[in-house]
Each structure stands twice: as structure tokens, then as C-alpha cells.
Amino acid sequence: MTLSTGTEQATTIHGSSPAPEVARPRSLGLASRLPWFPLAVLVIFVFVAVFAPLLTSYDPLGMSLPERLKPPSHLHPLGTDTLGRDVLARLFYGARISLIVAASAVVTSGLIGLAIGIASGYLGGAVDAVLMRLTDCFMALPTLLISLVFVMAVGPGLTTVVIALSIVGWSRFARIIRSEVLSIRERDFVALAKIGGAGQVRIMVRHVLPNVFNTFMVITSLEVSGCVLSEAMLSFLGAGVPTPTPTWGNMISDGMPYVSTAWWLMVFPGLALLLIVYSMNLFGDWLRDFLDPKLKQG
């Protein structure tokens, strides 16, 4: 019940001027405005990632030197790479890495940001000052390079990449959620809870948390595409999940020396990345307009 009212007072926080584009009325219904194209792409993406072994008979690691660098054919729809591995199979299995890393990284950084944002906004005072200065620091730093150095220091791997992305990814969550909490803190139901004798932790968890949930979902959907891109970039630079595990990023970098001879090595993983990230961005924009139009200016 309180979910939809949670953002009413947030305008004053997010920007001094009113949002120029008036929110569309919700009465039009969810289904009529669903972004079908991005949604379909994302469903297919998850489907492919989960059922990769059933969708292709090729082993993504199975080398076959006589078959190396074959252009797309009916045997290998997207061709084969330098070691004769099927590009389509590697693309399917690569989707798994993208999905796992992006989902884990966005959830991890989201939870960190959520905790810091709520604590900062609700507790205020010195806690707020310290946490927000820290958040500003992280927002100002070149994130990709920090992730790179972290991966180099710890050694590449799936968990390392997730941690590397989470270390730098939480700050935007913290910032936006904090500003949201600042207005929620002043609302009557929080005052009532206080009068009722609820402790600070209880108020934060039971009363504030549910009210920032919409905002949290919106930021998550907007940040996840950044995680996919960062993961691909780290892999491309050789600081991601190590070979021979296929990732879209390392598939592109493996294809780089053959830029003039074997175009299929790089075109398909890149297109897949573009399509996924594009769909995630469109879906995120839609979700923001639908759940939380006030964030538009943020």
C-alpha cells in the first residue's frame, strides 16, 4: 500500500525543477505498455544461458584443428575459431558468464548500496556525512581501472570479477537511495513507528526499506547493463574470467588478430553484447518511467 506513495516527496530531492515530461498515467495498464522487444531479448538471453548444453551439440572447449577458422556454414552456423571451436556454442556458454557475473555483481553492489543509503539517509548527522563523503569518493574514481587492478592483485576468476565490479558499483545505489530515505524519514508512518517505540534498526528494515524498494529495482535495472559491459571489457583486456572458458569479451579479443580474415570471430559476440545491453537499457528506462517517474531527472 505504501509502495506507490513512497516517492511523492522525492521531487524536491532529485531536482529543484519539476520533471518536464509528465508521467504517463498508470491506468493504461501494465501490459499495454510493456516493452516487448527488450523483454523478449532478455528472456531469450536467460533461456540460452540456462539451457546452453541442450541448444548445441558442440563442446565450447572442444578443439578440432582441421576445423579451425571455418566461416559460417550449416555445420557451424557462426563459424569456428582459431582452435576449431564452434563459435555458436561458445556464444551460448558465454551468455552464462555474462548473466552470472552481471546478476551477482548488481545484486552485491545493490545490497551494499542499499544498506549504506538507508543508514546514511535515516541516521543522518555524522554517519550521513562520513558515508556520503565516501560515496562521493567512489563516484569520482575511474571504476574500470580499479576493477582491473583488483583482478590483477587477486588473480582472475568468476568470483574475483564479481567482487571487482561490486567494489565500485555500489555508490550510485547509495546516493539515490539516501536521497529517497531523506524524504521517507519525515513521513508520518515513521513518526508513528517511533512513538510506538520501534528501534532504529526496526524502523529502517520494516518501514523505510519497503518504501525504497521501487527505487532499488529501477537502479538495479539501469545498472545491470553497465555490469555486462564492464565484465566484457575486463574479459577483453585479459582481466576477466580466464580462458579457455568462453566469455563474450575474450571471444572478441581472441578474434582481434584475425580482424581482416575471420570477421565472424568478433562480429557475433559483439552483436550479442550490443543487443543485450541495449535491451537492458530500454527495459530499465521503461521500468523507471513506470515505477518511479521522478527519477527521470536524477
Binding site: 569518493c137 567512489f138 574514481l141 587492478v149 587477486v154 585479459g238 537499457n281
Partner: protein, 308 residues
């Protein structure tokens, strides 16, 4: 104003501290410093010597202060592979990165601002939809891949531009276009939303009532104010260009700092990569500090407001 600047400088110093602490933490606490800082082929004696020299056998907090002291004296580290100080290697490559980044910046602004204006003026018309789709695609495309595709198209197939490496003016076109893509997309989006907001303000209405021509209102009265948020975007932009230059310089074999970082990764040259991160991080901090001060100077609301 003085208070505001003091606050921003404080924030900058704090950010630098966080950066240094993070790097220190990665290297000495989570990582195995001997493996990271000493060449792989080193003998046990050399390793032992390095441990004493780097103070790795001492308590972590002592190491931390010594590390800070080294940085303060400008000792960022020595590359394992090139046996050269990271600072000198960085300085040698840096002008090339700046040239490329500035070209990309100019390109992004020259194309991004007019696109944003066009989009705002023809709001919800076909052109607007086109520009907006383009900007979402621009933000979604991995720049290293776009660079490779441009290279395949223009250098390999059409053969009208050089494949890679820095030479004359034509060698700038592909890398700068690639690097500016995200910036261009972001700028056009920001200019659009900012201009739409400004166009509904009282002084724009007044100008119209006075009979100022529509294009003059847009380009002179409205755009000036609409560009203010774009200015703050510059600080973030710079960090973005730095991040982007690693991938773009790698793809185009551009002899800049980004490529140096890549060579560091490939050669497992941890001190080199770590040093580049530190220097670039400091640069980003200083630039965003300058941008914020200029912004406060241009827009009195920031100066006299509550700060940020």
C-alpha cells in the same frame, strides 16, 4: 565561494586517500605482494631482499604510512618488465592519450550538442526518436567492439583509413570516433532533457512574447542555460574517457597510457598497472575539482547554496 572551494578541495583530498588506501589494500592485504611486485624469475635471495626493501615483513600499518610517504615524494613504483619508473613511462605516453581524448571530446561536443538541440526542438517527432534510439545504442555498444567493426569496415574493406597506430590526421579519425561514441550519446541525451526544461521557463517565454525568432531563442537564450548541466557532466566524462581509452587504445594500438595499461595486464606487470591507476585517478580527481569550481563560478546557485 571560499567555503565551497575549501569543501571541494577537502573532498578531493579524501578521494585521493580512498584511492591510495584501496590500492594499498589490494596489493598488500588481499594480494600476495611479493608475487605482485617482484619479477617471477627472481631467485629466493632476490625475493628476500625485496621483502626487506619493500618492508613487507613489517606490520601493515607501518607499511601503509611508508607507502603514503613514497607516493607523496612522487615514487609511484617501478615497472617489472621495463625496469623504468612508472611516472616517466606514463609521462612519455600521456600526450598521445590527451591528443586522442581531446579530439574525442571536441567531436562528441560538436555532434552531441546539435543532436540534443535537434531532438529537443522536434520533441516526439521522427528526428527525436531517431536521435534517442541512436543515443541508447551509443551507450549500449561496447566501445572496443565498435572500434574493431569500424576498423574492419573503413580500414580493411574500404581501405580509406589507416588500420591502426598513430600517424597523421587520418589515424585519429577511427579511434576518436570510437572514443567519442559514449560521450556523444550522453551529451545529446543531457542537452535534450536540459533544453526541454529550460524552454518552459519564464524568460524563454518572455523572449518569445517579445518576438525573438524561434531559432534565436533556442540557440542563444535557452541553450546557454541548458549547457550548465552538461558542464558538470564533464567531470564524469573525463573519467569515462580515461576508462574508454584503455579499450580504444588497445584496439587501435595507440601509443598512449591506455595501451600502456593493457601492456601491463598482458605482461603481468602489476606495479605498472597500479601506478597508472594512481596517476590517472589523481588526474580525474583534480579535473573534477576544477570543473566543480568553474561550475560554481558560472552558476551562483551552487556557490551560495548548501553545497552539494
Amino acid at each position: 565561494m571560499v567555503r565551497y572551494i575549501a569543501f571541494r578541495v577537502f573532498q578531493g583530498v579524501l578521494t585521493s586517500l580512498v584511492l591510495v588506501t584501496l590500492v594499498f589494500f589490494f596489493t598488500r592485504v588481499i594480494g600476495t605482494p611479493v608475487d605482485l611486485l617482484v619479477p617471477n624469475e627472481a631467485t629466493p635471495e632476490m625475493r628476500a631482499a625485496a621483502i626487506t626493501r619493500l618492508g613487507l615483513d613489517r606490520p601493515v600499518y607501518e607499511q601503509y604510512f611508508e607507502y603514503m610517504g613514497d607516493l607523496f615524494r612522487g615514487d609511484i613504483g617501478t615497472s617489472i618488465k621495463f625496469r623504468q619508473s612508472v611516472v616517466s613511462m606514463f609521462l612519455e605516453r600521456f600526450p598521445n592519450t590527451v591528443r586522442l581524448a581531446v579530439t574525442a571530446l571536441v567531436l562528441g561536443m560538436l555532434v552531441g550538442v546539435p543532436l540534443g538541440v535537434l531532438s529537443a526542438v522536434r520533441r516526439n517527432k521522427f528526428v527525436d526518436h531517431l536521435v534517442r534510439s541512436f543515443s541508447v545504442i551509443g551507450m549500449s555498444a561496447p566501445n572496443f567492439w565498435v572500434g574493431l567493426m569500424l576498423m574492419v569496415l573503413f580500414a580493411v574493406h574500404l581501405r580509406i583509413l589507416p588500420v591502426a597506430r598513430m600517424s597523421g590526421f587520418s589515424s585519429y579519425i577511427l579511434p576518436a570516433a570510437t572514443l567519442s561514441l559514449g560521450l556523444l550519446a550522453g551529451t545529446s541525451r543531457l542537452v535534450r532533457s536540459s533544453l526541454i526544461e529550460v524552454m518552459s521557463s519564464e524568460y524563454v517565454k518572455l523572449a518569445r512574447i517579445k518576438g525573438v525568432s524561434a531559432s534565436l531563442v533556442v540557440w542563444k537564450h535557452a541553450l546557454r542555460n541548458a549547457l550548465l548541466p552538461v558542464l558538470t557532466f564533464f567531470g564524469i566524462t573525463f573519467a569515462g574517457l580515461i576508462n574508454g581509452s584503455v579499450a580504444v587504445e588497445t584496439v587501435f594500438a595507440w601509443p598512449g597510457v591506455g595501451r600502456l595499461v593493457y601492456e601491463g595486464i598482458v605482461g603481468r606487470d602489476y606495479p605498472l598497472v597500479q601506478g597508472c591507476l594512481l596517476i590517472l585517478g589523481f588526474l580525474v580527481i583534480i579535473i573534477s575539482l576544477l570543473v566543480d569550481i568553474i561550475y560554481a563560478y558560472v552558476d551562483p546557485r551552487i556557490r551560495y547554496g548548501r553545497g552539494k
